[in-house]
């Protein structure tokens, strides 16, 4: 039986240089620059390819009876994994975590007892308030949430069916007694909003779903994710970083991905499999490849790393066990001179 071929991603099969200016997730990759005090540097074709690769990987069906494995032999790993993860998040942010109709959600929230603590996302910050005990202010279409009752700084959030996705029930104690500054959950909300054109910040920030896992040297990945990026050029451009978009697990906050340290002997693996696992280098792949049998996998190898051959041999062994050769759209637009392979495996 022929294995099912994944649907071709919207913007693939194009060259790196021109046609992918606007990728499938709808954002302008050509407008992106690496920002630095010495001067901005526009994203080269390889950088845009990895954003688009993430976008395409996110569109592969999952969970499925088989997974897609993609491997690339690169001259350098710098930023490749982070860019792919950013592409994944930007695509999957468009899929709500809780596909609950707004009216239904509003009805449930409206039935909560006064005093029940809730998290409210407003102005890019997270507040912990409570359902206000103000019966006079309740209507059939809205109810008040007390964010701060401190005299002079009293603040309410009016919850409606339209904005109820910004409200979530929490076990944390209400902080409405004092004035709240709110927890900044996005460093550069304007940048994130611009990149995620048409998607609300709450879609990105609220709720936990493991869209991806990054396996590599943790400190290096975090540093790469923190690299300043400018959308647009010159002073008019918006500066941010991919760190905001990656929504990496950090303590108990909501997240969409996590980093697994390749250097750790016994890392804590997630209980549920991530949709896509990105191995950033041979050591992590060789060490933890068996931990992610259900996830689609992207293996990024640096041809100069010592265990490159060992990892390539392992990929070739897996290739022999493949269930199919899906269309090469996923890798056809990869940077020139980079060896790549794509195949499907039974999960």
């Amino acid at each position: 039986m022929e294995p099912p071929t994944p649907p071709p991603p919207a913007s693939f099969g194009n060259s790196c240089e021109a046609s992918d200016a606007v990728n499938a997730a709808g954002w302008n990759t050509l407008g992106l620059h690496w920002a630095s005090p010495e001067g901005d540097r526009p994203f080269a074709g390889w950088a845009r390819y990895f954003l688009n690769l993430g976008d395409a990987l996110a569109q592969l069906p999952w969970p499925a009876g088989e997974r897609t494995a993609v491997a690339l032999a690169l001259p350098i790993l710098q930023q490749c994994a982070v860019l792919t993860a950013a592409g994944i998040v930007c695509r999957l942010t468009r899929t709500p975590i809780a596909a609950q109709p707004n009216n239904e959600r509003f009805t449930e929230l409206a039935q909560l007892a006064p005093g029940q603590p809730v998290r409210v996302l407003a102005r890019g910050r997270l507040y912990i308030g409570e359902i206000a005990d103000l019966p006079a202010d309740r209507t059939a279409h809205s109810f008040p949430i007390m964010v701060s009752r401190e005299p002079g700084y009293a603040e309410h959030f009016r919850c409606t069916a339209t904005n109820c996705s910004k409200v979530e029930v929490t076990d944390a104690p209400s902080q409405a007694d004092g004035r709240q500054n709110g927890l900044r959950i996005i460093e550069d909300p304007e940048f994130a909003m611009k990149v995620l054109t048409g998607v609300s910040l709450e879609s990105l920030c609220l709720g936990t779903r493991l869209d991806y896992a990054l396996v590599g040297v943790r400190a290096r990945l975090l540093e790469e994710a923190g690299q300043s990026v400018r959308l647009g050029s010159g002073k008019g451009g918006l500066v941010g970083s991919f760190m905001d978009l990656l929504r990496l697990k950090n303590g108990s906050r909501d997240h969409r991905g996590l980093v697994i340290a390749a250097t750790a002997k016994e890392p804590r693996f997630p209980t549920a499999p991530p949709r896509i696992v990105i191995f950033n280098g041979a050591p992590g792949y060789l060490k933890f490849r068996d931990q992610f049998r259900l996830s689609h996998q992207l293996v990024l190898l640096d041809r100069a790393e010592a265990r490159f051959r060992e990892a390539a041999t392992q990929i070739n062994r897996d290739y022999l066990q493949r269930t199919g050769d899906p269309g090469e759209e996923l890798v056809a637009a990869a940077p020139a001179g980079v060896d790549r392979v794509v195949f499907t495996e039974r999960t």
Partner: protein
């Protein structure tokens, strides 16, 4: 760093590789003569006798075929090699057949002839290319296939044959993601490819590569696709965007210059290392230090940048400080508190790779950790250390009087769970603070008659342990600060860099070394031989 990535992807897409295939410089005849002798020695069953006699000649031949160094270079000492050959000839006259001895005698005149040469075809071509290229600004580097040759090339360049001295690199140095405007590589590509250096050509660190080598050594380059059914990236022959261009210099006899299959199989020997000889060097280096009765552990010999080596323990839990000099940015602060993450971190030895930088203690100040720990404990240090010595002395006395086996029996009788001669030696050693298990510690006090003072010994051990942890943290913090302030470019070129820790002690220092090679054989090393850097001698 992003600029480097852009450049590396561009170089990977369209490299311009020029092969400079040069006529023989007298090396091929020497190579053939050596091979005939080796073959005859194997037939006569005296290969083990002949091999060491030829080691030096082959090393010199390798250097001359893979560097700009010429035979008459005083640092190469070819005259002294010729003298050794003369004494080897006498030795063989007694121990080998007349035919073999006669063939062996043919080698010395060839070496003498090479030792008189004041230039070489490789050198002349390099000088010419350098004169043309260095007019343009940019980062240029010379690449040789092995770090032994690097040392000699560095020495030759320091004599001032060129106006601007280029940096000399080995493939392990090129593993760092760094971009050069032009690279000048010496020796045939297969000498790099067969030594895990395929990336030098497959994902080059420069868009413009010059390969300078003898035509007979075979300058062909074949890079197989990495993956089965890969969408491959084979370097094209010629072409506008990039590719391979072969420049063949005229030879006296084209036939004599044609590469043969034999010439292609000598690589393994040239790169071979005699583990036993290195082990012997290490034991001579540290003969006076340590206890010959020391426990033996599995270890591997790691060859380091700068022509040095170290024996690292090769057990599941052995760790070494490693530094990530991959880029010039700074790691996030949160990770600097984690010993196993960040720019300076402890990594499992079994996960170390060629090209990694490890940091080893090198100062003459002895083991830093106890010294710094004593500083942390302040005036209490002396009391705690004396108490520690007291129970260790008592235990050592018992072992001397009754033997390790009998003491272990007594310890087990007194409740010890892990009493074995090896563990006993470990507990007695000054560097061990205390046994891991409380039961073992208590059994020591019972056996040595110190049970009534057990509480003060345990308290002392806790204080020392805690001070050692603080000291480790302090040293690491200091190292991170030093690494941040270091000129990493210099370090990449040299393959090592010393960090002086005057803040801790006048003679304290640690040195970051790039790993050039990890020899595959696991050897049995004594504890005092581990982590101690020694210089690799030529012989």
């Amino acid at each position: 760093m992003i600029e480097t990535s852009d450049n590396l992807f561009a170089a990977c897409a369209a490299p311009v590789l020029t092969m400079h295939a040069l006529p023989d410089g007298g090396l091929r005849t020497l190579t053939k003569a050596c091979r005939i002798v080796e073959r005859m020695a194997a037939d006569e069953g005296v290969a083990d006798v002949v091999r060491p006699l030829l080691t030096k000649v082959k090393a010199m031949r390798f250097c001359l075929a893979a560097s700009p160094v010429h035979g008459g270079d005083p640092d190469l000492c070819l005259s002294s090699v010729a003298l050794r050959l003369a004494s080897a000839e006498e030795q063989l006259a007694w121990s080998a057949s007349p035919r073999l001895a006669a063939e062996f005698k043919k080698i010395r005149p060839l070496v003498v002839e090479l030792s008189r040469r004041q230039s070489s075809p490789l050198q002349e071509t390099f000088r010419q290319l350098w004169a043309e290229r260095s007019k343009r600004a940019g980062r240029l580097a010379v690449v040789v296939p092995d770090f032994g040759i690097k040392t000699r090339t560095d020495a030759w360049l320091r004599q001032g044959p060129l106006k601007d001295v280029p940096v000399v690199l080995t493939p392990s140095a090129l593993r760092q993601a760094d971009y050069y405007d032009e690279l000048f590589l010496f020796g045939p590509p297969r000498w790099y490819v067969s030594n895990s250096g395929e990336f030098v050509f497959a994902t080059p660190r420069s868009r413009v590569l010059h390969v300078i080598g003898y035509r007979w050594s075979g300058l062909a380059l074949t890079i197989e696709p990495v993956f089965r059914r890969a969408v491959s990236a084979v370097i094209p022959q010629g072409g506008a965007g990039g590719g391979i261009k072969v420049v063949v210099a005229p030879a006296e006899s084209a036939e004599a210059e044609e590469p043969s299959a034999e010439d292609a199989v000598d690589t393994a020997e040239d790169f071979g290392f005699d583990v036993q000889s290195i082990l012997q060097q290490r034991r001579q280096h540290g003969a006076a230090a340590g206890d010959p009765e020391d426990e033996e552990v599995d270890a591997k010999i790691v060859l380091l940048g700068g022509g040095e080596a170290v024996m690292l323990p090769w057990t599941d839990d052995a760790k070494t400080y490693s530094a990530d000099f991959g880029d010039v940015g700074s790691y996030v602060e949160a990770d600097e508190d984690d010993e196993d993450a960040g720019r300076v971190r402890r990594v499992f030895n079994q996960e170390l790779e060629v090209g990694d930088f490890i940091i080893l203690r090198t100062g003459s100040g002895g083991d830093l950790l106890p010294k710094v720990a004593d500083g942390v404990m302040g005036i209490a240090a002396e009391t705690h250390r004396l108490r520690q010595q007291e129970w260790k002395h008592a235990l050592r006395d018992l072992e001397r009087r009754h033997g390790g086996g009998a003491v272990c029996d007594r310890l087990r009788g007194n409740g010890a769970n892990h009493a074995s001669p090896a563990n006993l030696r470990n507990w007695i050693r000054a560097r061990t603070i205390r046994p891991d298990s409380d039961e073992d510690f208590a059994a020591i006090f019972r056996t040595t008659g110190l049970e009534h003072r057990a509480a003060e010994f345990v308290a002392g051990a806790i204080a020392i342990n805690s001070a050692h942890l603080s000291a480790g943290f302090k040293i690491r913090k200091l190292l991170i600060a030093k690494v941040r302030a270091a000129d990493l470019r210099k370090m990449h070129a040299a393959g090592k860099m010393e960090f002086r820790l005057e803040e801790l002690s006048n003679d304290a220092s640690m040195t970051a070394y790039r790993i050039e090679r990890i020899l595959p054989d696991v050897v049995h090393a004594r504890l005092h031989e581990l982590n101690d850097v020694f210089t690799l001698e030529d012989d």
